[in-house]
Point group: C2
Chain length 249, copies 2
DNA sequence: CTCTCTTAGTGTAAATAGTACGGCAATAAC
DNA sequence: GTTATTGCCGTACTATTTACACTAAGAGAG
C-alpha cells in the first residue's frame, strides 16, 4: 500500500450553507469574495480545516466567526471532491448546513467585516456562485427538504415563540409547495409537540394569532419511544392520474 | 486567508461498506488487515484517493479491485475526520456504501488475493474493527435503513429474478423488524413495480414460488411524475400506548 | 362608531391506506 | 399416501388523509 506521506498534497475545507427564515422566505448567508479566484462572486462561507481540527469543529468555527452564534443546528451533508473544483489545487470540501434564527443576531460589526448578506435561496440558486457552490447549495437545500419531513428541525429557524401560520409558511418555503391551512394545523397539533403559550401576537394590524413553542423535551421522550416525526409528501389528484396512466399502458 | 499550500499535510481516503444479501442475512465485505496498524483486525475495504481521482472514482476503483464489479449501486454517506482517527497521520475518509448482488461474482481469484470475507452485518457490528470502522459501518447501515424506505434500492441486493418471500426477508434483514407477510405482499404489489415473470422457482424442496423482476423503467417513469416510493415505519400498539402516556402525563 | 381590510381559526364527510389475522394449496421427500 | 415445508390469498376494522368555505378578531381610516 502507498505510504500516507506520498499523498500529502491536498487540502480539506468545509463549506457551510447557513439557512435562515425571514419575511416568509428561506434565506442563505453568502459572502462576496474579495480575492481571486472568483473575485466579486458570491460564495458560501467556508475555510480550510486546520491540521488539528475536527470537521464539525471547523464548521462551527466558520459559523461562529461569521455570526457570533454557538450551538446552532449543524449537519454534515456531503463531500465534494471533483479534481478541478478549486483552481489553486486539490481541495476536497465537506459541506454542512446549519439552521439559525435570524432574529438571534443583530448584525454584529465583526460578523459583517467581510461582506456577508442574506439571499433568498431561490434567487441564490439562479445566479452563478463561486467554485461549485451552486452544486453544494442545491445538495444542501435538498437535504434540508428531506430532513424537514422526518425530523422537527424547522423550529431551529423560527424564534422561540411563533404562530402556526409562520410555521406553515416555513414549511411551504422549504418544501416549495402550498399546504392546506386546516390540514396543516390539524396534523401539527395532533403531534402534541407544540406548547400553547396562551399568548397573542402583538403589533400586527389584524387579528392576532396565538403563540406556540416547540416542546423539545417531549420530543426527546417521544424519540426514546421510537416515535417518528413524519410529514408525508402528498400526492395530488393529477399525479395519481398520471401514475394510473403509466400502469395501464 | 491561509494559503492552500500551508495545508498540504493531510490525506484523503475512501472507505466502502459493501453490502450483500445471502442466506436471508445482510452481509458486509471485510478485509483482514495484513499490516500495521490494526494488523489482524477486520477492516472496511478502502484506499487513499489518488491526486487526480474523483471521490466516486476512487470508491468505484476499490470496489472493482475487490469484486471485479462495475456499475454497482454506490452512495456517499459521510465524511469521518476525527483528528486522531488514523495513527499515522491526519486522514479524512469519505464513507460510501454499495449494494451488490453476491451471486454476480463467483469469487474471482484476484478479488480474494487479499483476505476478504463476507460477514453478517449484525456480527460485524458487535466485533472490534480497525480504525473507526465500527462508526462507519453503523452510519452506513443506518443510511441504508433510511434509504430503503424511500427508494427501491433493495433490488440491487437481489438477483434479477426473485420471489416475494426473498424480498420480504431482505427488508426484514435491513429494517431489523418482522413484517406481516400478507400486508407486505399487498403493499409491494400495489406499487406496480414488479413484473410477474410467470416463472417458478426450481429445485426447492417445497411448493415453488413465483419469480418477479423489478420494473426499473416504470420506476423511472413514476419518478418523473413525482411518485415517491414509501415504506412507512409502522407503529405497534405498544408504542402508541406509551406515546399516549407521555401526552397525558 | 362603523366600515373595511386582513389574517386567525374552525369541522366534517368521503376516500384512502394501514392493520390484524387463519386456512387451504402445491410440491418434494420419505 | 402421508408428512413437512413454504406459497398464496381476502376481509373487516381502524386510522389517516384529503378536500373544502365560512365566521371571528383586531387595526386603521374616515
Amino acid at each position: 500500500m502507498n505510504e500516507v506521506s506520498n499523498f500529502f498534497k491536498s487540502a480539506f475545507s468545509i463549506d457551510n450553507v447557513i439557512f435562515g427564515f425571514d419575511e416568509g422566505d428561506l434565506k442563505v448567508l453568502l459572502i462576496k469574495r474579495g480575492t481571486e479566484p472568483y473575485k466579486g462572486l458570491w460564495a458560501l462561507p467556508g475555510d480550510l480545516i486546520y491540521p488539528n481540527e475536527g470537521l464539525e469543529t471547523a464548521a462551527n468555527r466558520v459559523l461562529l466567526e461569521l455570526t457570533g452564534l454557538q450551538k446552532v443546528y449543524l449537519e454534515q451533508v456531503h463531500a465534494f471532491g471533483a479534481v478541478d473544483r478549486h483552481p489553486l489545487g486539490r481541495v476536497i470540501t465537506i459541506a454542512y448546513f446549519s439552521l439559525v434564527k435570524i432574529s438571534d443576531f443583530v448584525v454584529t460589526p465583526s460578523s459583517f467585516a467581510q461582506k456577508a448578506k442574506w439571499h433568498s435561496v431561490a434567487k441564490a440558486q439562479e445566479q452563478t456562485l463561486a467554485f461549485d457552490h451552486n452544486d453544494i447549495l442545491d445538495t444542501c437545500f435538498d437535504a434540508l427538504k428531506s430532513k424537514v419531513r422526518v425530523r422537527p428541525v424547522g423550529f431551529e429557524l423560527l424564534p422561540p415563540k411563533f404562530t402556526l401560520t409562520e410555521l406553515q409558511h416555513l414549511y411551504e418555503a422549504i418544501l416549495r409547495t402550498p399546504l392546506d391551512k386546516r390540514n396543516f394545523r390539524k396534523k401539527i397539533l395532533s403531534m402534541h409537540l407544540l406548547i400553547d403559550l396562551d399568548e397573542m401576537q402583538e403589533g400586527v394590524p389584524h387579528r392576532p394569532a396565538k403563540l406556540y413553542q416547540f416542546d423539545k423535551k417531549r420530543y426527546h421522550k417521544f424519540e426514546a419511544e421510537g416515535f417518528s416525526f413524519e410529514l408525508k409528501e402528498s400526492k395530488s389528484k393529477d399525479q395519481k392520474r398520471r401514475i394510473e396512466e403509466i400502469i395501464e399502458g
